[in-house]
Point group: C2
Chain length 267, copies 2
C-alpha cells in the first residue's frame, strides 16, 4: 500500500495527470472512476490503483480486470488517492492506460477505401476539455466515422476530456494533424463534401444532403473557425438561432450538425 504523497510513483501519476508532455513521453494516460474502469480494454490496461474501500466494494470486478490484463495493481490510501485524483471526490479507482488510437490508420483508409460513407468531424483549435470529451461521446452516438483535430486542439488525454467521453475515447478514431489545409485538400480529392459551420453560412444546416461522404468543420469556442480553414470548405452552413443568441457552445453546434446527418442517413 502506498501511504505517502511523496512516493515516486505518486509523483509520476500527478505528472501524468497534469502534463501532456509526461503523457506523450510515456504514451499513456489516466482514467478515473468505476465507469471508465469498466470500459478500459484489458489489452490497454497497464496499471490499476485503488483505495481499500473501492477494492472491498468492487473486488470481483477489480480481480477480473487485474487477472485478464496481467497488469500491475497497487492500493493507495484515501489521502494519496485524493492527492493524485483530478476530481474533488475520487471514486477510488485510477488506471494507467496506453495511448493507442487507430486514428492515423483510420484516416488513411477513410480517404482511400472507406468502409462506410464517411462522416467526419474536423475540429479546429478547440480548447475546452469538456467540449472535446462531449463531442467524442456524441460523435460515437451519431455514427461519426472519425475525428480530425488541428494540432493546437486541447489534448484528448487531458483527464477532463477522458471523463467527459464516458468511454468513447476507446472507440472513436481520432487523429491530430499538423497541416489541416493538407488534409482538407485530400478529403476533397477523395470526394468528401466539406461543410464549415459558420455564422456567415449561406445554407441552414438542414438543407444539404449528408447521405454522401461528408465532413463538418467546427471551430474554437470563442472565435469560431479560422478563416484559412473555413475558406477551404465547399459550403458554409449556419444554425439558425432565435432570440438574441450570438453563438452556440461548440459541442452544442457540433451536436446539431452531427445528429442532422445521422437523421438523414437513417431515412
Amino acid at each position: 500500500m502506498i501511504t505517502s504523497t511523496s512516493n515516486a510513483k505518486v509523483k509520476r501519476l500527478v505528472n501524468l495527470r497534469k502534463k501532456r508532455k509526461a503523457r506523450d513521453t510515456e504514451k499513456v494516460f489516466l482514467t478515473e472512476g468505476l465507469r471508465m474502469f469498466e470500459e478500459v480494454p484489458e489489452d490497454r490496461l497497464l496499471e490499476i490503483y485503488v483505495t481499500e474501500h473501492f477494492y472491498k466494494k468492487e473486488k470481483a470486478l477489480v480481480d477480473a480486470k487485474h487477472k485478464k490484463s496481467g497488469c500491475q495493481m497497487e492500493v493507495l490510501t484515501d489521502t494519496v488517492m485524493n492527492f493524485v485524483s483530478d476530481t474533488k471526490t475520487p471514486q477510488g479507482v485510477l488506471c494507467v492506460v496506453t495511448q493507442e488510437n487507430q486514428g492515423e490508420a483510420w484516416l488513411e483508409k477513410e480517404l482511400k477505401a472507406p468502409e462506410q460513407v464517411p462522416l467526419i468531424m474536423l475540429l479546429d483549435n478547440l480548447q475546452d476539455p469538456g467540449n472535446m470529451g462531449t463531442i467524442l461521446r456524441t460523435a460515437e452516438a451519431a455514427a461519426v466515422t472519425g475525428i480530425i483535430m488541428s494540432s493546437d486542439c486541447v489534448d484528448v488525454y487531458n483527464p477532463k476530456v477522458i471523463r467527459s467521453t464516458m468511454g468513447s475515447i476507446f472507440r472513436v478514431p481520432f487523429v491530430y494533424v499538423e497541416n489541416v489545409t493538407d488534409v482538407i485538400r485530400q478529403m476533397k480529392e477523395h470526394g468528401i463534401r466539406t461543410y464549415a459551420t459558420h455564422l456567415a453560412g449561406e445554407l441552414a444546416y438542414d438543407e444539404p444532403d449528408y447521405r454522401t461522404p461528408s465532413a463538418f468543420f467546427v471551430g474554437n469556442e470563442g472565435n469560431g473557425l479560422r478563416d484559412q480553414v473555413a475558406e477551404l470548405a465547399d459550403i458554409y452552413i449556419k444554425i439558425p438561432m432565435a432570440g438574441q443568441v450570438e453563438s452556440l457552445n461548440a459541442a452544442i453546434a457540433a451536436t446539431v450538425v452531427m445528429f442532422e446527418a445521422g437523421r438523414q442517413r437513417r431515412h
Copy 2:
C-alpha cells in the same frame, strides 16, 4: 476602494456566490465578466464591483451602465476580486442583479393564452450547473418558449449556471414548480403534447410532429427521468445512438430534441 477580504461587503458577496439561501433571501444573484456585464438589463442592476484595471479599460461602458442604472459602484483590489470571484482568473467585473424572471406569469399565460405555439422544456432533477446553463442558452436559440424545472433542479442562479447561459438567463422564461405532476396535467388539459426523452422510447425523436404545442421532458444526468414523471408523458421518444454509447449528456439530449422541433417549425 475595498482592500480587505474581511470587509462585511466582501463577506456578503462570497455568501451570495456560495449560498442559494443567501441569494433567495435577498432575491439577487451575481454575474461575472464583461459579457454578462454588457447583458445585464440596467433596471435589474443593483451593484457594480470592478477592479481598477477593468475600470480603466472599460471606463465608458462602466460609467454608462452606472449612470443608466443609478446603482452603487465600488472598486475592489485584485486580491479582493479574486477572493469574491467564482473563477480562477476573474475578468475584473462583478454585478449584483435582481432575481426577476417572468416565469410564473409566463406559465400561466402559456397554458391559457399562449402568444406562440408553445415549445416547453421540462427539466426533472437536473443537477449539473453547466448543463443547466447550456440548456438555457440553447433553448433561447431553438425558440423554446419557456422552461419548467422541478424544485430539486440545480439553482439557476448558481454562478456556474449564470456563466454558461451567456446572457440567456435574462431572456428565457423559467419557473420552478413544487408539483411537476400537476403542471404536466395542466399542460395536457390545454392541448400541449408531452414527450419524454427516454431510453425506452417507442418513437425516434424525429418522428413526431412538433409543429403543434409541445413539451419535452428531460431527466437527471445519471438516472434519466423519474418514472413518475416519464409515465405522465403522451409519448416516449428516443434518440437513436450508434456504437456502444449508453446515454447522451443531458444538455446534448435536450439540444437534439429542441433543434428538431425548431427545424420542423421552420419548414
